[in-house]
């Protein structure tokens, strides 16, 4: 009996170590959106005319954002990492974990906007501007419902 307990403790220990600490999850999640953000910044500065439009650069940013959408978000949205669990560390509202259908719908709108962005990024500044607006709208939709305004 004692041997079994010891053995199960040895097995259980690495298993618990697999789940990342909640704070790390929140950090990684913010990092994910930071990556998204710098690609968006590159696009927006072209749309605003702060930097000159370049089809090549626009396509590069669009492709990077598309790469990010291929990342499985499950790990960085592990349960127990809302702003109720980690006050001051994240602005992710518990609604994210309570409203799966809503998150799914807005996530799909985001993916669609990224696909559209990739399709038109090389078609000139005006087309890019429209695609960036659509993508920004997808950002806004989630921020409105699933992100606290402040920590």
């Amino acid at each position: 009996m004692r041997k079994i307990l010891m053995a199960s403790a040895l097995i259980a220990l690495p298993l618990t170590a697999f789940a990342a600490p909640a704070e790390d999850v929140a950090e990684a999640r913010k990092g994910f959106y930071k990556l998204l953000g710098i690609e968006m910044d590159g696009l927006v500065s072209m749309v605003k005319g702060e930097t000159e439009y370049s089809a090549e650069k626009a396509q590069g940013h669009a492709a990077d954002i598309k790469t990010l959408t291929q990342y499985n978000m499950g790990d960085i949205y592990a349960p127990g990492t809302s702003n109720a669990d980690l006050p001051g560390k994240t602005r992710a509202l518990p609604a994210i974990w309570e409203d799966g259908a809503g998150v799914q719908e807005k996530g799909m709108a985001f993916v669609k906007a990224v696909e559209n962005l990739n399709a038109v990024a090389v078609d000139g500044k005006d087309e890019l501007a429209k695609a960036v607006q659509q993508l920004g709208g997808a950002c806004k939709a989630c921020h409105d419902d699933y992100r606290a305004k402040d920590f």
């Binding site: 953000g37 968006m40 910044d41 696009l43 927006v44 960036v132 607006q133 993508l135 920004g136 709208g137 950002c139 806004k140 939709a141 921020h143 305004k149 402040d150």
Partner: protein, 200 residues
């Protein structure tokens, strides 16, 4: 208690609110409601919300100037009362008769300062707010830094509910004067003309 006839003899109908103040009031009401509605229910690209916010700022700037150089009843000094005067008016306001007040009464005057302050704070925090959607960034957000822009956004969100509450209170007060005190305050704000107590 005076008889109705002597009461009437103590009253006069005068031009109270000047035309610019009235135009300002209704433009402000329209712009605030439009900005609020667009903020909550408008399209993702909030350009119109921004424009109405700028319009509110412009109207508030006019009000500030008018509060110092405008006609008597538009001036801040005309309706800035102390706490005891406000309290006395607040206690007496539940009598079922018109106030016949010349200008903003003490409580209403205090309300004017509060709502102007909240609207100003709301418009200014909007300038610095960054919702990080890359399409609706406040025009001055870059000067606030990312922490400042986030705090501005949080205040802008909270103050939006204050604006709603104060506007509802304002409309409720107008309804209270109409129903309970039998005094129409809307018509004077349209025509400028109000029946008031004669000055001693």
């Amino acid at each position: 208690m005076s008889s109705p006839s002597t009461e009437t003899s103590r009253l006069e109908t005068v031009r109270l609110w000047d035309p610019l103040l009235r135009i300002y009031h209704w433009l402000l009401a329209f712009c605030v409601i439009a900005a609020w509605g667009l903020g909550k229910f408008g399209p993702d690209v909030m350009t119109l919300h921004f424009y109405f916010g700028y319009a509110v700022l412009g109207l508030l700037a006019f009000r500030l100037v008018w509060g110092f150089i405008g006609p008597e009843h538009a001036r801040f000094g005309n309706f800035a009362y102390g706490p005891f005067a406000i309290l006395r008016y607040g206690v007496g306001m539940f009598r079922r008769r018109p106030s016949y007040w010349r200008g903003h009464n003490p409580l209403g005057g205090a309300f004017v300062f509060i709502i102007l302050g909240v609207l100003l704070a709301q418009a200014v925090t909007g300038l610095f707010a960054d919702p990080e959607d890359y399409i609706n960034v406040g025009p001055l957000a870059e000067y606030a830094g990312s922490d400042g822009a986030r705090q501005a956004l949080a205040w802008h969100d909270l103050l939006g509910w204050w604006v709603l509450g104060l506007t509802a209170l304002h409309i409720a007060a107008i309804g209270f004067y109409r129903r309970w005190k039998n005094e129409d305050l809307i018509r004077p704000m349209l025509t400028g003309v109000k029946t008031v107590r004669k000055e001693a």
